[in-house]
């Protein structure tokens, strides 16, 4: 499980979220270990039976107004109760200044208070988005990711089988390269994985016999894409005549799982010089058609079975016709 220290969060994102550290540097080594955030209104008010205190806690105008409404003794009593839990970080929104008892007790309990100029609603949305992305499950895959007609095709297969050459061909035909060789894949939600190139790799590609080329420089901005949902795995395998077990009908989808997300796999046998560019376009279009609820193979199979049954029925009728 990844984690981020309060210090790193503050240093690397203070401009993005317009952050300002209110405490003296205590609690900066504490870690945030979950993407969830929490507004601890009830805990401040004294109800701490269910207090998810390990999250980044956000104090908005409501919480500030509540604290201001209390007498000093009451405020201290409730804050002591609040800080009896180990809190990783407090963030005060809308540029509000917390009461001095809160600052003092936070420092005493080794907890940082950071102020943001954002209002609570905007901050919650953007900060949660950032944490979701930060804590999202991720994996690095070996392969090539190309956007073909808006469908993210992930090419896999042994080194040298022609993944890069295939994507080069696709780029030539107007499709867009996302990443070649190493793809960073992030799980964005229950059934959504998104791939992108690492910063260093960018849209560079090694073509055997030529070396490293820069696709963006060579083909222009239209040839690349920064990230793309990964939708279909295209597994390239060497054509083996003795084992002709490649899909012939395509009625049943085969699936693979990446980061717990299922996606269809198409296995394509390749032989030297075989053009898989057009095949790739067909895979993408066929996937779109299936997504929109039409499966050509299933439809054809239904027509065939209907014809067979009709023939059988008329044969039975004629057989029992003794006139």
């Amino acid at each position: 499980m990844p984690e981020i220290t309060v210090e790193k969060l503050y240093q690397e994102h203070k401009e993005e979220f317009e952050l300002y550290l209110l405490t003296d540097g205590s609690g900066l080594k504490k870690k945030i270990e979950t993407p969830a955030v929490h507004r601890p209104g009830l805990a401040l008010a004294g109800f701490t039976q269910r207090f998810p205190h390990r999250r980044a806690l956000i104090l908005g105008e409501t919480e500030m107004a509540f604290l201001a409404s209390l007498s000093t003794e009451e405020r201290i009593r409730l804050l002591r109760n609040f800080f009896s839990f180990d809190v990783p970080l407090l963030i005060v929104t809308k540029g509000l200044n917390p009461p001095k008892e809160l600052l003092r007790l936070a420092t005493e309990n080794n907890t940082a208070i950071i102020q943001t100029r954002f209002n609570t609603a905007d901050f919650m949305i953007q900060f949660s988005g950032f944490l979701d992305e930060f804590f999202a499950p991720r994996i690095t895959l070996h392969g090539t990711l190309v956007d073909v007609y808006g469908v993210g095709l992930l090419y896999t297969g042994k080194a040298g089988i022609g993944k890069s050459e295939c994507s080069l061909d696709l780029v030539e035909r107007g499709h867009r390269l996302v990443a070649d060789d190493m793809i960073n894949v992030v799980k964005k939600s229950q059934n959504l994985i998104v791939g992108s190139a690492s910063e260093l790799l960018g849209h560079h590609m090694e073509v055997r016999g030529i070396g490293v080329v820069d696709i963006e420089r060579l083909f222009g901005i239209r040839a690349i894409r920064m990230q793309k949902r990964v939708e279909v795995e295209v597994r390239l395998v060497l054509w083996d005549e003795t084992k002709d077990k490649y899909e012939r009908l395509g009625m049943e989808e085969k699936y693979t799982t990446v980061l717990g997300v299922e996606m269809p796999v198409v296995t394509i046998p390749v032989s030297p010089g075989k053009n898989i560019t057009v095949i790739s376009e067909v895979i993408a279009m066929n996937h779109m058609q299936k997504t929109y609820g039409e499966n050509a193979a299933v439809e054809f199979s239904r027509r065939l079975s209907e014809k067979i049954q009709r023939q059988l029925a008329s044969k039975r009728y004629l057989q029992s016709d003794y006139e």
């Binding site: 003795t242 084992k243 002709d244 077990k245 012939r248 009908l249 009625m251 193979a297 054809f300 199979s301 065939l304 079975s305 014809k307 067979i308 049954q309 023939q311 059988l312 044969k315």
Partner: protein, 88 residues
């Protein structure tokens, strides 16, 4: 060359799934295999061709197998028809 007539015995006939099974069985052999039904002759290694036969239960298919492994091929073909393609 071997010629052999084989009858379709499974209830649903040579619909899509059995056609694919037949084609994959035959593709494993080197021999050329042609299937004739009435006036229609198709290559048994072509899935579209085999499905075009639209062979219902009771239909008779004439298999012409030619090649170094023709004997093994026709045995395998008979076996897959006899198994009713795992149906019924």
């Amino acid at each position: 060359m071997i010629e052999k007539k084989i009858k379709v015995i499974n209830e649903l006939g040579l619909h899509a799934r059995p056609s694919a099974q037949l084609v994959q069985t035959i593709s494993a052999f080197e021999s050329e295999v042609m299937i004739t039904r009435d006036e229609l002759t198709v290559n048994a290694k072509s899935i579209m061709g085999v499905m075009m036969l639209a062979a219902e239960r009771g239909a008779e298919l004439l298999f012409r197998v030619d090649g170094p492994d023709e004997k093994e091929a026709i045995d395998a073909i008979e076996k897959v028809f006899a198994s009713k393609f795992g149906e019924d």
